[in-house]
Point group: C2
Chain length 217, copies 2
């Protein structure tokens, strides 16, 4: 990456989408794409595609466009998914168990290597070959596998306490599914996925577009 420049969050989000689209084209047997072919299925303008990719270097070839295999390699390296990332999953409720079975993680180099819960009735249970450990074992297992990332799928009222334990044991990135905002120290990264908030955003859009339709009609 040129000069260690940090890409804005919006660019990084789009790079993940470009990567997904490029992999889809590669599976279809294509070897090159134009910026329009890359942006159109994602509803991203071709000028934006070119600007985003230029942030990381010059990858376009005159008269050819982008070479798919080359660009996939570069983008995977930029995002950091050209290596395996071991993860811990904390919280084996309904959502946690679904996330454990979610195939999209594994195909991206994300491997859940340990499970934790503080519910005594869940500890010791075997899910897909992994045994649920008590939260007290976190430090040992994180150190053993050199783990940096955790998926947090615990109830809202337990989330901050568990996050504090994760940070104290060396976790540096948390994907938080609990519907609550967490406080973490500088140097620890947080991405929140609040499904109700996403659904609320959708409802707002639906209401607005219904309003637009009635005004126009």
């Amino acid at each position: 990456m040129p000069g260690g420049k940090i890409a804005p969050k919006a660019v990084v989000g789009r790079v993940s989408l470009y990567l997904r689209q490029l992999e889809s084209y590669q599976r279809q047997g294509l070897t090159t794409v134009s910026s329009s072919q890359l942006g159109d299925p994602l509803s991203i303008k071709n000028a934006q595609v070119r600007k985003d990719l230029a942030f990381f270097g010059q990858f376009g070839h005159a008269g050819i466009g982008y070479r798919i295999g080359e660009l996939i390699g570069v983008l995977r390296h930029i995002i950091g998914v050209d290596r395996d990332w071991p993860l811990v999953l904390v919280g084996l409720g309904n959502l946690g168990r679904a996330l454990l079975k979610y195939r999209g993680f594994r195909t991206r180099g994300f491997h859940i290597v340990a499970l934790f819960d503080n519910d005594r009735s869940k500890i010791g249970a075997n899910h897909d070959g992994l045994v649920v450990e008590p939260i007290e074992s976190l430090g040992r297992i994180v150190a053993q596998h050199d783990i940096r990332l955790a998926i947090l799928a615990v109830p809202a009222d337990a989330a901050q306490g568990v996050a504090d334990q994760l940070v104290a044991r060396g976790i540096r990135g948390i994907l938080n599914f609990a519907p609550v905002s967490l406080l973490v120290p500088p140097g620890v990264n947080l991405v929140g996925v609040d499904l109700s908030v996403q659904l609320q955003n959708l409802v707002y859009k639906v209401q607005q577009s219904q309003g637009e339709v009635s005004c126009a009609g």
Copy 2:
């Protein structure tokens, strides 16, 4: 809303977070908050809080701040969650079944009223009192309950086909969990939740902050 002005997506996202935080304060027994008290737990600056809320009207009271009960009512109305929203859920795999049990939806006025799958082995099964219907019954059920919203939790290769059927039957908003970009006609709204993309964004942040630490150290 003044003049039917449409709030930018970023503002709407933050309004959902403000609402969650206000409801948390209300449960704790507070009746008023300052913009700092509202923004701090969300890592949003107080000037931003005031600017966002001013977009929808004047709700602050000099010397008091915001009245929590009043502001909750206003924000719930703005987002459109002061009414019940019936939903259909399509796809009863691991993720779909977890979403069905996710309590966060129900407490927000989102009620899943019908389940669909195109897998013959899943049709007829009872989940939490709802029977899985074949996709062919979609039109009848959507009309019967006046449903506008759908949660799509089907595999990537089936998602566009199912989305087309949803749109044809009158669905106007889709919360898409399939890891693929969908094409929908104008007037239909889409919010995508790609869990791998969220995890990739987290990995990028973790890498960048490790880079920063090593440069500084």
